[in-house]
């Protein structure tokens, strides 16, 4: 390391113990080193005293006027009112229970001989069987509906947790 480098390192505060000792010894014994140090010290002080450049007075306004439309708050209004939401859930529940009940009692459950397992069952399903879905379709619909309800419930829970976290922050 040459002497100039040592001086800058010292001025920047990057010298280790050995370098610092070497620097101090040179400063005490070598007049030309001392002179070189003092010159760089003045320059370093000049650098540190440099002030920041200032843009025009309108700078901030210009930036704000040119900002693209991003990160805007979305309206918090719900698309449907609470009455409509309740009606939806009631209808869905009714549809599910009906489909499940009638689906299990549909003609698909008949024995392989083609006769119904008992007369009561047959009487029960005779009238509504044309209105509801067969057994397999009912199961598929049930699975889809259950998944949908589960997803909606998870979404609501996560949304609530997110809002709570925002309030805490």
């Amino acid at each position: 390391m040459d002497q100039d480098e040592l001086i800058w390192k010292y001025l920047d505060g990057h010298c280790d113990t050995a370098e610092k000792a070497a620097f101090e010894q040179l400063l005490a014994t070598d007049p030309s080193f001392k002179k070189a140090f003092e010159e760089r010290q003045v320059l370093d002080q000049g650098f540190q005293a440099l002030t920041l450049e200032e843009p025009s007075m309108r700078f901030t306004t210009n930036v704000m006027e040119n900002l693209p439309v991003l990160y805007q708050k979305l309206p918090a209004r719900q698309l449907l009112g609470p009455v409509w939401i309740k009606a939806f859930w009631t209808s869905l529940s009714f549809l599910m229970v009906s489909t499940l009940g009638i689906g299990f009692l549909s003609p698909d459950t008949a024995t392989s001989t083609g006769t119904y397992s008992n007369e009561i069952t047959r009487n029960l399903i005779d009238v509504p069987q044309s209105l509801f879905l067969p057994y397999k379709s009912a199961l598929i619909l049930l699975a889809i509906s259950s998944s949908l309800i589960l997803l909606v419930m998870i979404d609501k829970r996560l949304d609530k947790a997110r809002k709570n976290r925002q309030t805490t922050n």
């Binding site: 800058w8 760089r40 320059l43 930036v63 704000m64």
Partner: protein
Amino acid sequence: MHQTEEDIHIVGRILKGDQAAFRQLVERYKDYVFTICMRVLNQREEAEEAAQDVFIKVYKTLGSFEQKAKFSTWLYTVAYRTALDKVRVRKKGNVPLDSEDNHLQVSDPTQANAEQIINTEMLQAQLLVAIRKLKPQDAAVVTLFYLKEKSIKEIVEITGLTLTNVKTKLHRTRESLKRHLEKQLGSEIKDNLR
């Protein structure tokens, strides 16, 4: 509030749609960003335009700021790259400081009483002019080093140069500036400041 914490708080507010927070951020950093652009571009109008571009870029990409680095380091990286891009487009290429034709035009100190004319302010003014004569990358390194006391490590992050490269550039630039000022001020810097 600690500066970094406050930056994170402001960034959070901006991402929630608070434009007043962005105005606060611009007010907070405009001088630093403008200084970097000015030292690299060496032309006021262009530097102002570049600084505006920097803040608009920052606004657009704020969502991608991962907070791994300090916000100021990230911001200065954008400023440095934007200014350098403008230099590349301009292709004007500054003349290196050591070039013979690159002496600054100052009054001859022998014509007047040097002790009265040359003082610390004079040195600073000459230093500023000398920095503007540097190559854009050298000017940026020396500016960043003395700007808000950025560490060498942060300068490496901002400029994308290697650690050795930054150290070498810093050392050579400062020595070059010293030689230049000595030439301009007539004698040793220290003597002129007495």
